[in-house]
Subunit: 332 residues, 2 copies
DNA sequence: CTGTTAGCGCTTTCAG
DNA sequence: CTGAAAGCGCTAACAG
């Protein structure tokens, strides 16, 4: 079942059917109706490979990220999908390992498909990756963090600033022996740790021994484990800024198990503001990151860039928001 | 940069390069080495659209499911990716709405790409969908539930049985006014509700008023809300079988907020056994569903079916496991 | 507004 | 084991 089958049946040439399908305006109303009816009747579906080959435009947007299958990326993906749905683009996800070799492999793979755009959770700063992105024959949006100058465009927040705000919040609530739990596994995590450290050093309260990190795949469990270790080694530790909400949740559970009062004896601040943070008991203070909007607008930037040939913006900082809740609700 | 560029540089014809790339055995070792070296040097990457068009084989596996961006599907996706990685297949996800019209649209879209396989979280039983799947020119695996006869193949568990086991567990622990919270939004949910109802009717303890369901996107919050409603209307309700772990978590938080002792005053059983279930305080009893393995083996079945032309199996029931924990740990 | 011609980059088929 | 010819289904460019 090809375009010419339809064309024959409709009594026109193939190209006219092609136009009626992609650019209905370019065909006279009568012909258009006839053609679309025939298409419907025959159940014709265009072959995307042929289309991509002939037009050198695959309509494919690649999303590349380490840890894509993590809780925090769900909202991002929803945003991406929602913006893509009404367009004629389609998305392909690639869940790279965090090493740059695998990312390069995946990027090359996308390139082989004439992508219409690339969304990249940039992390590494590997010159080979930057180079490949610069060469990419399509708009590239680097998402999540905006502190590095992007190849094309970037959208996200400043993770270092966000961590500073969270740390100041804990200080303001009177916590003094504040730990950072869960690590700096990637670029954003490192930025957050920098912010955390800077604020505490300024206050003369930074203790590197209170920065605890293990690479682990179970994050709530990791939160439990780290709180355990922290309090065993440093019984005077009185708060934790957690790498993400899963870890914060684990910390909360472990505090409950130990009979440690939250927020009285111990304060907890998470990161991302996942849905459950607001419903926990006590509700967990967290930093809201506009993940849905990042995804939605990243696709939007690609669409605009493809349409106009110019970047709608170089760097978009969407800002974060500290959501103060029960887990840190005590008087400073 | 095309195949003939490489061919010219290597002093052979295009087809030989093509063979060296896809089927190295078919080319003499010396030529092969020369060619692969040149490919490497030039950084040549084959054009997948051209390949798909010429060979009528896109190597693309479509994954179609409503609610794909939910917590419970993360492990499924990991399984899928892990099995796909070492193969030459690639995955495309489509997050259909739960209505059959959108699913049809998405399925047709996949069809237009000559897919090498289709993975479908079957739910609706719409004849048009079944029809389309039957016509599909590639292996189709329906995943998650195995209670319906699949078009080609199916892999998953029996959700009705799983619910029966969970409900019996609550009965065995001495709970008598058992609610089902969070609904039967899809085929699997309905199957679970059937199992729940059957067991309680057999025990003479079924009360339809204790089946509470709202369609909502925030699930932990929904758990809180439903527990609230349940205990306000039925203060004697003493346990809940929850539609998923998120709802169970919300129920747990709300019990804590109300000062309801878990498991003493109120028992909680979740579904899926997400990571946090085992770390909560008290740990949450749940039904473990082998989601990772379902994804991994679904792809495996497609690969085997493509290779041999025959289905490795019609229906694979991977079984579930009730994980009994603190949230129901009281003497019957 | 519609049609003709040519070709996208690769693989299939059939010869050598 | 290697190559030549043909064509996958569609669209760009040009013509009418």
């Amino acid at each position: 079942m090809t375009l010419s089958d339809v064309a024959q049946r409709a009594g026109v040439s193939a190209i006219t059917v092609s136009r009626a399908l992609r650019d209905p305006e370019k065909v006279s109303p009568q012909l258009r109706d006839t053609i679309l009816t025939v298409v419907e009747e025959m159940g014709y579906v265009p072959d995307l490979a042929a289309r991509a080959l002939a037009s050198k435009n695959s309509g494919l947007v690649g999303v590349l990220s380490p840890g894509l299958t993590s809780h925090a990326f769900l909202a991002l993906i929803r945003g991406i999908e929602d913006r893509v749905r009404p367009s004629d683009l389609r998305i392909q996800y690639a869940n790279a390992d965090s090493n740059s070799e695998d990312q390069l492999r995946q990027l090359r793979f996308f390139m082989s498909q004439n992508p219409a755009g690339l969304i990249h959770v940039g992390q590494i700063g590997d010159p080979a990756i930057d180079d490949l992105l610069r060469r990419a024959p399509c708009p590239v949006v680097e998402i999540m963090d905006v502190s590095r100058q992007p190849t094309d465009m970037a959208i996200g927040i400043d993770h270092r600033l966000a961590a500073e705000t969270a740390t100041r919040h804990l200080l303001a609530k009177g916590y003094r022996r504040i730990a950072m739990l869960g690590g700096a596994w990637d670029f954003r995590g490192r930025r957050r740790q920098e912010g955390f450290q800077a604020v505490l050093e300024e206050a003369g309260l930074f203790d590197p021994a209170l920065v605890l990190s293990i690479d682990s795949s179970t994050s709530v469990g990791l939160g439990c484990h780290l709180l355990d270790r922290l309090r065993n080694e440093f019984p005077d530790a009185d708060a934790a800024f957690c790498h993400n909400d899963d870890i914060a949740l684990g910390v909360l559970f472990e505090c409950q198990r130990r009979g440690l009062a939250v927020p009285g004896d111990f304060g907890i601040c998470g990161f991302n503001d996942l849905e459950y943070a607001g419903f926990a008991f006590p509700a967990i203070t967290s930093v809201r990151v506009p993940r849905y909007e990042i995804g939605y607008r990243a696709v939007d930037m690609i669409i605009r860039a493809s349409g106009s040939g110019a970047y709608p913006a170089k760097v978009v900082d969407l800002g974060y928001q500290l959501v103060s809740r029960g887990s840190t609700a005590r008087d400073g």
